[in-house]
């Protein structure tokens, strides 16, 4: 279980970006975290992974627990060793390294040679292309291949939990579907739990079971993904489907009403 409890995050000691966020990802589940640009999704993941420090950010309130241990005051390396790993926004593969070296980097916490090999075989099973391209320099891979490498790299640590930050970013719809299919397969067969941050709400809501919606550093709505997909506001603002044909644009008034409803 990953449990985030009422955390607040501040950058440069002044800028409050997360203002009391709580959510949980139960074992074996797929959970999504949706929200528009600047809502604080990436900041949430960075807070969990403990990499805020290098950006002058810090958790000022709240707690984070992972498999029964409090992790909000641990180092990044300890958290990865516990089995919680993040795939960063924009993939961030090590561009000068080969595909295989990138995968080795992902397996940094795996010291046993045999386990390393077993994890590599597992990654190749889900992403055969990474095996074919193992000696290629990662910087020359296409965007989709890089996303696969970024996920494969995280999988090399054989983690219990993977957090994905916008895996659909900049990819063609077909590829997005393919990648989500693979993620679902990994969840099903390896039992890996996923926390998926997305702007592409339709794909995220269709492949995860529970969702949280974030705005301005707060969770404004959460629920079963099925229910969320039926929610009028989610349909309108995140899925781009308008049920009320008389409405032409999302007016300020409507926005206010929506917030109120979500917060109640």
């Amino acid at each position: 279980m990953l449990e985030v409890n009422n955390i607040e995050v501040v950058y440069n000691d002044v800028k409050a970006v997360l203002r009391g966020i709580s959510f949980r990802v139960p074992e074996g589940e797929m959970v999504c975290l949706l929200g528009t640009n600047g809502a604080g999704k990436t900041t949430t993941l960075k807070a969990i992974s403990a990499i805020l420090k290098s950006q002058k950010g810090s958790i000022t309130k709240g707690t984070i627990h992972f498999s029964g241990k409090r992790i909000d005051n641990m180092f990044a390396a300890e958290i990865v060793s516990l089995g919680l790993i993040q795939v960063p926004e924009g993939r961030r593969v090590f561009i000068d390294l080969t595909v295989y070296e990138n995968l080795r980097a992902g397996a940094f916490v795996v010291k046993d040679r045999k386990k390393l090999q077993a994890n590599y075989e597992m990654v190749k099973k889900y992403f055969p292309i990474l095996g074919e391209r193992q000696t290629q320099i990662a910087g020359y891979l296409s965007g989709g291949e890089q996303q696969m490498l970024a996920i494969g790299r995280a999988l090399m640590a054989n983690p219990e939990y993977i957090m994905l930050d916008e895996p659909s970013l900049g990819l063609a719809p077909m590829l997005v579907n393919l990648i989500f299919e693979i993620i679902e397969k990994i969840n099903e067969r390896e039992g890996t739990s996923f926390l998926i941050v997305e702007q592409n709400a339709s794909i995220a809501l269709s492949s995860t079971s529970y969702g949280y919606i974030m705005e301005n550093g707060k969770i404004v709505l959460d629920g079963e993904c099925k229910k969320l997909s039926e929610n009028e506001d989610v349909r309108e603002f995140y899925l781009g489907i308008k049920d009320d044909s008389t409405l032409q644009s999302f007016a300020e008034v409507k926005h206010y009403k929506r917030r109120k409803r979500w917060l109640s």
């Binding site: 390396a77 090590f94 070296e101 940094f108």
Partner: protein, 300 residues
């Protein structure tokens, strides 16, 4: 025995390689630290002298045999590197680059002061039975020390290549150099990588220092060889280890060839001192990021 033109060329070339090997050692240490931690370590030359002095003292005062003294000095310098990183530089993360450079320059002065205090200002030489033995190879004469330094460097650098290409820590160091935040996300401890970089750079410096102390001699201000290696560093590209090796060897050889052939004409020594800088100027005019460096790199 009279040397033919070819023989004298090889003579100059080989002794240039030996001198260049030492430049290469300094340059590599510098590049490793810069690549991993973005710190310009102006004390690299002084760490080299420290290695030489330590080995010298272990042999001269404690009567420890050469090989063991060498190994102990290497160990001590590695520890020293880790200490410098942990106690001083870790606190400086996020400070302006200029501040950190000033700290390494300060470290350099402190070390030079301590050298004078402990070892005095007269010349000290590491004496080994083997080092000064003369070897003649087809009319080219060499000392054993020259041969050994080249051999050791070849082994050391092949070791580096394998380490950075295949080992878990080596790959982690390259990842950290490329993207610290993402390295953290892989569970790589950036702090440990920084410490390891300093340890390796100090070990390399120690090897350079011990050979320098055998081939030449040591005085406290000898760290200035660090400055002479500087063109090698920039020539190779600040962050390229392969470049540092080639830069060091090139400068050693060119220095020797040019002074060997031209000093006679110019009536005395001196050209040797400026050759590296002339070469550096020419290369930087053509390739501002060095021969092998990363293009976006900030120059000092």
């Amino acid at each position: 025995m009279e040397q033919s033109a070819w023989q004298s060329f090889f003579q100059l070339f080989i002794s240039g390689l030996a001198a260049g090997s030492i430049y290469a050692l300094i340059a590599v240490g510098f590049a490793i630290i810069y690549k991993a931690t973005s710190v310009l370590n102006f004390a690299q030359g002084d760490l080299l002298v420290l290695g030489g002095y330590l080995c010298f003292s272990l042999m001269a005062y404690l009567n420890i045999p050469y090989i063991f003294a060498f190994l102990i000095a290497i160990g001590l310098l590695a520890l020293m590197g880790i200490m410098i990183q942990r106690s001083i530089l870790n606190r400086m993360i996020g400070e302006p680059i200029f501040t950190v450079v000033m700290i390494t320059i300060g470290l350099s002065s402190v070390l030079q002061g301590l050298f004078g205090l402990f070892w005095g200002h007269e010349e000290q030489k590491i004496m080994t039975s083997a080092a000064d033995r003369i070897i003649a190879l087809g009319g080219v004469t060499l000392t054993m020390a020259h041969l050994i330094v080249m051999g050791v460097i070849a082994v050391l650098f092949s070791g580096f290549f394998l380490f950075f290409k295949h080992s878990r820590m080596g790959i982690a160091m390259r990842c950290t150099a490329l993207d610290q935040d993402t390295a953290l996300l892989m569970g790589i401890s950036v702090k440990n990588v920084f410490s390891l970089s300093w340890a390796i750079a100090c070990v390399v410096a120690c090897v350079g220092g011990v050979f320098f102390g055998q081939i030449n001699y040591m005085i406290p201000a000898m760290g200035a060889v660090g400055l002479r290696a500087f063109p090698a560093i920039v020539l190779g590209g600040l962050d390229s280890i392969g470049g540092a090796i080639i830069g060091g060897l090139t400068i050693g050889v060119l220095e020797n060839l040019i002074s060997g052939y031209l000093d006679v004409w110019l009536g005395g020594a001196g050209l040797k001192e400026i050759v590296p800088y002339i070469l550096l100027l020419i290369v930087l005019l053509i390739r501002p990021y060095g021969l092998f460096g990363t293009k976006e790199i900030i120059r000092v």
